[in-house]
Symmetry: D2
Subunit: 254 residues, 4 copies
Amino acid sequence: MKPVCLVVGAGAGIGGTTGKRFAAEGYHSVLCRRSDQEGLNTLVADIQADGNDATGFLFNVTNEGAIETLIATVEKDIGPIEVVIFNLGAQIGDRDLSDTSYKAFERCWHIATFSLFRTASVVCPLMVARGNSSIIVTSATAAVRGNAGQHAHASAMGGRRMLCQSLSAEFGPKGLHIAHVIVDGAVDAPDTLGKMLGEERFKTLRETRGLEHDGLILPEKVADTYLHLAKQHRSTWTHELDIRSFTDLAWWNH
Amino acid sequence: MKPVCLVVGAGAGIGGTTGKRFAAEGYHSVLCRRSDQEGLNTLVADIQADGNDATGFLFNVTNEGAIETLIATVEKDIGPIEVVIFNLGAQIGDRDLSDTSYKAFERCWHIATFSLFRTASVVCPLMVARGNSSIIVTSATAAVRGNAGQHAHASAMGGRRMLCQSLSAEFGPKGLHIAHVIVDGAVDAPDTLGKMLGEERFKTLRETRGLEHDGLILPEKVADTYLHLAKQHRSTWTHELDIRSFTDLAWWNH
Amino acid sequence: MKPVCLVVGAGAGIGGTTGKRFAAEGYHSVLCRRSDQEGLNTLVADIQADGNDATGFLFNVTNEGAIETLIATVEKDIGPIEVVIFNLGAQIGDRDLSDTSYKAFERCWHIATFSLFRTASVVCPLMVARGNSSIIVTSATAAVRGNAGQHAHASAMGGRRMLCQSLSAEFGPKGLHIAHVIVDGAVDAPDTLGKMLGEERFKTLRETRGLEHDGLILPEKVADTYLHLAKQHRSTWTHELDIRSFTDLAWWNH
Amino acid sequence: MKPVCLVVGAGAGIGGTTGKRFAAEGYHSVLCRRSDQEGLNTLVADIQADGNDATGFLFNVTNEGAIETLIATVEKDIGPIEVVIFNLGAQIGDRDLSDTSYKAFERCWHIATFSLFRTASVVCPLMVARGNSSIIVTSATAAVRGNAGQHAHASAMGGRRMLCQSLSAEFGPKGLHIAHVIVDGAVDAPDTLGKMLGEERFKTLRETRGLEHDGLILPEKVADTYLHLAKQHRSTWTHELDIRSFTDLAWWNH
């Protein structure tokens, strides 16, 4: 039975691409996302076409018991979860305080912070018992600095980062590698950036900054680093690293 | 009509003491806390005995509309809120992940992060319209580093810190001073530390580290710094500072 | 005999103004600077005209023994140094790596880092023996983030910041308050900003952003905060804080 | 002609091991260290025995022109430097301020900060002209927090970190990848930790925390991460990461 790489938040960007990469390395990739059954099917079929293993689930992480049930199902029917790629984004765009509803603020936290806590609550005991496991958390610039228009996103991601540190402090010495990855720039991903910008603007951005300019972060290159993190020897673990295109200034410079 | 200093979280520690201090400086201090009508009455009476103005409210910040109604009442009946001392703590003690319930995690966030967001949502527009206002937020070591046993507290305080930064980025240029104070050590406060430790251990701690040893942070000295922050000229604002006893190592050293 | 406030780097900006402020509070202010005897005389005369005490020294901190001799002289002839305002700047302007000579890089470190180390080496033992003393260090954005053109300045200020932390870790528990102040913005100071920009541009900047706009940090307001730091009770010390005009974004936002 | 991996500070720990690893990947590894011709010969012979290329140089980085001449020689006689592993340590042990001489403080800075600046001054123009190059800098906990006894080390490493940020800001957009690696724990290295502790204590430490306990950072595992950094695609660069054994708490937790 193959070990499982559970990707929470598996769109056609970092999540799906990382799932594909881990599948190629011998994991059974379980891809979970909120919507778009067709897109999910495409990702799974793409992995299977390479002769590798993948299963897809649609689920709404904010539903009571959703992630807990999913993990139980995976563990029972597919295999032991050895790696979690926690990749749920919670960017709701630039919004002034007056445009940030209580509901949006709470929802952002629910997705970015609380759902990681719920996932960890269920999966950490399993991982500790088995050893040799990793939780790799995609995070954002907003986790390390608040900015105008980012009230919901920054506070949720700041919560996510501190949670990663507290989880690492408890579970690191028990053999569970928790890594917090600050994705500090725009990712060349149709399911997130593409949807936020709209088709036309995304196309223009790719042509002016992306593609051969390498000015957008490439999901398959992020997957390289995620794989490296998952394979780091326990004598030499990285808890936090940043990622950006060479064309971008670091968050502390703009 | 005196300007109001609204203290959200006014026990017999930093909150109550700061309220007293601002009242002595000419503010009408409005003290809010969750429970202990008697303790609240004592704080209010103590301020009034000095010939200064104070009003007390019991309220549960997690109740829907509670803080919003309170602010409306204060603005209508008492005066314009010029300073908010946001002093709600959310320390639930050291708890392993397995001992941190979903409910506790959510409640911690509700108090530490969401209630600040709600307060800011209501009070910032009022303050911007009037100018010359401050929100001073008591925070904790857990806002800058996660630690074992601090899953709920660290993620909630990390969210609080990033929220303070995003609020400051939006409202600073509009004349609203937002300060995030990292209280990095034990405070000599019967209503928080005292209750957490129990009477005996608190007494022992005060005798061995507190009192003339000055090894516990004194609320009235914190009030000095809060007052300084509230009075800083807008050409020279501090957004973040740390506070600890000289006997304590900084959080980055232990 | 009055206690001494030793200002290392006392031009007509934060240094001189803080010296004046501490003199008004009962200190004998000793103002040291590298050049401009006339400017120094003016500062001293200005303080004395208020009936307060000040003495001025010209000295070159990079000369061997210069700061050591100065401290010995002050202690012998004027009084015990209770407060050091360490205010030497080392901004050499934006310079590409290719325009940053070895000599400039070393000189920057000598002024910003090594001279603080030398000062501390001499003054800390004296202060520990007497208790109740402070070293307040003016620092810069460059201490917390490197930027293009800031190779010499950032590495020197980064060294200064870490030195303040190591000094605080050793001497804090011995009763010596060390504070690191991140001045995160332009200061309305003719001797530094004025000289860097030239008379015309400085005049324009003051008219468009400074003066009643309060968009430049005012030295006399910085002096308020320095005085507050020096007076903080030892149960409640601040090690680090930032300062900027309300019109400016924090360094982490640009 | 093979591209060169220049290892500045190549003892039998991270430096030598990384040099060996890059040689196995097709680089000509140039190993430089201050002393121990025999140890250096062993490292070089070990690499050559695998059929890979290496050259060793003894040099004293603090000598005027030493690193500059070395780089010129390498570029002329061996090949174009594509990767620099800057691995000079500057830990002088725990020393109170009174035990930290001016000379030791200056020497520490010279090795940790100034020699990186000198190296970068010479090598960056060459790298920019050729593109596709990396400077990977080994750094230490002391780069991010000062501690008692670490006056020289922390201020030098803090300077190193800020220099890496300023170099990255200038040269990143020009295609030069600069990475700052915070080695946050003890490394299983006879030439550094071994010499600091002495043979007996090092042996005991290895037996109780190292070896199969994986409680010491293994140089060959660090080399994996350095290689990963050097191979990261320019759309997805990491500037900073931390490394520690799973048994160790992160620096922010102790």
